[in-house]
Every structure is written in C-alpha cells, then in structure tokens.
Symmetry: C2
Subunit: 223 residues, 2 copies
DNA sequence: GGCATGTTGGAACGCTGTTCCAGTCGTGTC
DNA sequence: GACACGACTGGAACAGCGTTCCAACATGCC
C-alpha cells in the first residue's frame, strides 16, 4: 500500500481504480470510443500501461466500470415525482440524456446486457411499474419492455452522434438524411419517402418520450 | 475484368465483392465477431489481404454489407398475413430470429443506425403502421418506436448469446442469472429480487412478442 | 539495517487494419 | 504475333493495439 507518510500522497496522487476509471471516462468523452487506449490512459495518468493492469483486469472491465459509474450518477440525479408515470418518464429521460452526453455508454450497454448499469435501470423502472398497479405476473414483461425500449432508442440516438464529428450540426444532419430518404427507390421505399419530410422537424427527445407514452398506454390498456 | 474466356472462371472462382461478403458472413457465424479478420478472410478465400481491399474499402464497409445481406434475406422470407397486426408480429419475429442466428448483426445495426438494413425494416414496419390506420402525423413515431424496440430487444438478446461459448445451455444461464439476482442487496434491489424467480421460466421470444403487443395496444388506444 | 510485500512503468509479444507495390492475367490495338 | 495497358492479385511491411513480463522501487515490519 502506498500509504501517505503524513499528509502528502506518494507522488502527486497514487494510482487507484477510481482515478483510472475517471480518467477513462474523460478520455472517452473527449476523444471518443477509439480514444481510450491503455497507452493514452497511461500518459494521462503519468505512468506506464503495466501499472494500470495492477488495478484493472482488462479493457472490458474498464468499460464496464466506466459505464456503471456514469449510469449510477445519472440515476442518482433522477428526482421522484408524484405519479409513477411521471417518475418513469423522468428515469427514461435521465438515461437518454446520460447516453446522449456519453455516447460510448450506449455501445457498452448493448455489448453486455445485465451488467450492473442495466440492472440499476431495470430496478428503478420495475419499482414504478409496480406502483402503476401492474399485476405481479406481468411486471417483468412490462419492466423489461420499457428498459429495452429506453436502451434501444438511447443507443440508436447516440450512435447517430458518434458517427459525425462534433462540428456537424444536428439540423444539417437531419436535412441531409431527409434528402437521402427522398431519393430512395419509389417502388421499394414508398413509406420511408413519404415520412422523409417529417424527419426534418424531428426531435429525438420528444419522439423518444412519445414512444414511452405509447408503451405506457399499452400497459394501462391491459390493466 | 477477369472475364471468363468460355465457361470456366479464372482460377477456381474469381474474387468478387459478393464472394467476399459471403465468406465474411460464414466467418462471423462460425468464429464470432472477433473471428473476422482480413487475414482469416484472405486464407479462406485463398488470397492475400491486399486483394480484398481492391473490392472493399475497409472493415466497416464489409460489416455493413454483411448485415445488409442478412437482413435482406430475412425480410424476403417474411410472409404477408391477413391483418397488419399479424404482419407486424411476423416482421418482428423475422428480425429477432435473424439476429439470434447471426448475433453480430445486432451489434452492427446499433453501431451505425439508418444504414440500409435498418431502413429496410423501417419501411416494412411503416407500411403496416399505415395499414393499421394510424393517422399520417403519428406514423413516423409509431414506426420508429416499433423499430427501436425490435432492434433494441433483438440486440440485447443476441448479446446474451454472444457472451457465452456455444456449449452453455440457455436454461443453465437463466438459472445462474436468476440466482445472481436473488443475492443482490435487499435494500437496493427489492424489485429485481422479487422478479428473479420469473426470470427462470423466461422465454425471450415470448417476452419479445409481449412487448410488441404492448406497443401495438398503445397505438390502438391512441387511434 | 534488512527483508517481504505491494506497486510501478517500460520493454516486448503477437495480433490487428491498412498500405504499398512488384508482379500476373486477359484483352484491344497495331 | 507482339506489345502495351488496365484490371486484378497477394505477400511484405507499418503503425498501433491489448496484454504480459519483469527489473526496479517504496514502504511497513522485525
């Protein structure tokens, strides 16, 4: 243990699992998914790659730890509301925004499901499903449908952002994409062409919540 | 152009984009996502890595082409049904099963959304949403909620399978996972612990369809 | 002081995607 | 028939990755 002799840490600050995970999150946020390498991480922590492996088994574990941390913070920030319905919407938005701010989390959560981060979300949603009055036998289905939808859309949304360099404007992107849809083959893609116009004034967050409401309506209808 | 002089190809068979994509799909299916490398692909095609790059720009393009091919085949196999509702369920199952059989497709579709494969699914679902009688202004929302749910759950499901070696039985996996849930902290995870038992008799496909029905019920309720 | 233990960081390994390029093949032109 | 040219091939080489290994260091205990 590199315990401090008096008040000063060993050298600047000792290496620790927490410090490594924090640095990894920063690197992922600023440089993107490919920006996280053990060498870059080592440089940022002023050490060598080997030292990191003393605290963390491998890159996969590092990614799990990083996404767990991000989701935990997001869940802690979710406020309770008067109704279960409002709380569910609030949890959903919390996850959506956390993944929007840290797009790599989306990729990570769909890579290995049922890791701690996913369970945290499932638990929070599940309690509210219970509060909605869904009968015991249907709670699992309702909760996992909601969680799957939330993670699916959030990741899809984040993937859009991951493709483009930060410089590209979101409105420009939608404009371009809408134009692409309109140029699709008229016989093969009639529906897509028809709704291409709607894509231009598309608000991801609003659309996401509309989907949540659709599922909530379905749950309410089958009570 | 290595055009055939008479009936026989140049040497065995000429390299072509199609042959490369087919070999890539085989490799991904048999060896998993990490099994696809340009060297392994070159060996299988009895050539060198450089030759492949004449036909395909990079690995990303290869993955897009491979998943497009798989989805296209799955969509071609979907039968039309009497009601829009049944057809939607059928498309959903088709995608679910295609991703279950080729787990790497799930990862690929969530990596870069709005590629041809996703659009194909969106189009097919969209037409049925129209047939359901959803008003013009709400079709986009309904269709994209369904597609997001379908891709989200299918990928989540595939990710479960991707983790384990083929030897592990599905029932064993659920048993282990259920046991893990029951050992969670009682104060932090009351809901998850409560539904842990339901996880044991969990049928992914049935649960998936139940979620579809939930969304369809929501759509019907808001007509 | 000296030893054991926990921790560090740099060198090295095997693998990857990708680039480069010297060579081969089939064909169109004189 | 010779020649040249563009399409195509495949092996060598490069930079970078995750990971392993290990000689060196720091510190707490006897």
């Amino acid at each position: 243990m590199a315990k401090a002799k008096r008040g000063s840490e060993r050298r600047e600050e000792a290496l620790s699992r927490e410090r490594i995970v924090d640095a990894a999150i920063e690197l992922l946020d600023t440089e993107g998914e490919n920006g996280l390498t053990f060498r870059a991480l080592a440089t940022r922590l002023a050490t060598g790659p080997g030292a990191i492996y003393w605290h963390i088994a491998n890159k996969s574990e590092l990614l799990v730890a990083a996404s767990d941390a991000v989701v935990a913070r997001a869940m802690a920030d979710v406020a309770a509301h008067a109704t279960a319905r409002k709380t569910i919407r609030s949890i959903a938005v919390g996850v959506f925004e956390a993944i929007d701010a840290h797009p790599w989390v989306g990729a990570q959560l769909s890579r290995g499901p049922w890791q701690t981060a996913t369970l945290q979300i499932f638990e929070r949603i599940g309690r509210q499903v219970q509060a909605l009055g869904v009968p015991d036998g249907a709670q699992f289905t309702a909760a996992s449908a909601l969680v799957s939808y939330i993670l699916g859309v959030s990741d899809q949304n984040a993937a859009n952002g991951r493709l483009l360099e930060p410089a590209v404007d979101r409105a420009d992107f939608l404009e371009t994409e809408s134009a692409r849809w309109k140029e699709l083959d008229a016989h093969e893609y009639p529906f897509t062409r028809k709704v291409a116009t709607q894509l231009r004034k598309h608000d991801d967050r609003a659309e996401f919540l509309a989907g949540i409401d659709l599922i909530l309506a379905g749950i309410a209808a089958s009570l």
